[in-house]
Symmetry: C2
Subunit: 176 residues, 2 copies
Amino acid sequence: MALGKDYAHQQCSIARALEVVGERWTLLVVRDAFYGVRRYNDFLVHLGIPRAVLATRLQSLTEAGIMEKRRYQESPPREEYVLTDSGKALWPVVCTLGGWGRNHLPSTRPTRLFLHAACGTELNAYGTCPACSVPVPPEDIEMRPGDGFDRNTDNPVSRALLAPRRLLMPLEVDRV
Amino acid sequence: MALGKDYAHQQCSIARALEVVGERWTLLVVRDAFYGVRRYNDFLVHLGIPRAVLATRLQSLTEAGIMEKRRYQESPPREEYVLTDSGKALWPVVCTLGGWGRNHLPSTRPTRLFLHAACGTELNAYGTCPACSVPVPPEDIEMRPGDGFDRNTDNPVSRALLAPRRLLMPLEVDRV
């Protein structure tokens, strides 16, 4: 369902942002990119997303300047998708959305914890560090599995996410 | 497109939050509720949303415990929709999304400014006050029209939003 074309919708920055990222899969692709997922197949395996939908979402994210495609191997040519600066700036949105889900949806045990790496304090619902009173950029965040994380998962990407890690660091997936 | 049903999707708090609010109209209805819009017709007029879509979104927001229906007049019976505490907790999501749109989408002049009412400082991209270093709840935010706001709008809800106002205060729409 497209939004209306009148002035109020086009100019409001919230409405315009939703035009670009207001779709569940889109923000889940962005979330995975913060977790360090970069390769098409890893997104596919981790999200359980239909191939055609993933391809379309990666293309629109690239066109919108949120992700960029980078050649990481020449022969055979292989590409990965990484967040641009504009994409990294979506962190507060992803973070606050997760905080709301954790605190306001029934029976969600946290699958992941987000800590200010400098002091080890868990971020609050605004994505800021309550101990240091600073907004924490994704580079300074350590992610760890929480109580709700299924440690017996056989999803190779989920398994790679079992170890504590900095956000945005490329994820090494053990492909057995 | 429904998300997959496997564990990773159902348990991640970001994915679960997107199941509930990950649709453009849904978050725009929530945004309008923060602006003080409460009545079905005001949502309709301000959003330019098809009637059937608005009715469905209000119903699912009510079922999800994000909004509640309140009788404000007995004869004839009239109801309004207001944010619950769980709904008000979505403020950081709406706020960070708007901040991203303002800073990272081309040529968006701000239609609305969000200030910490206590000190008059504009909120940062995390929805916190840079002067006071505190996350600011919606009750403590003053909203004012920005440079990009069309002051000549003939939309009655947009006109009502021309005056500076606290978030969540019921909006009085001049119905001429």
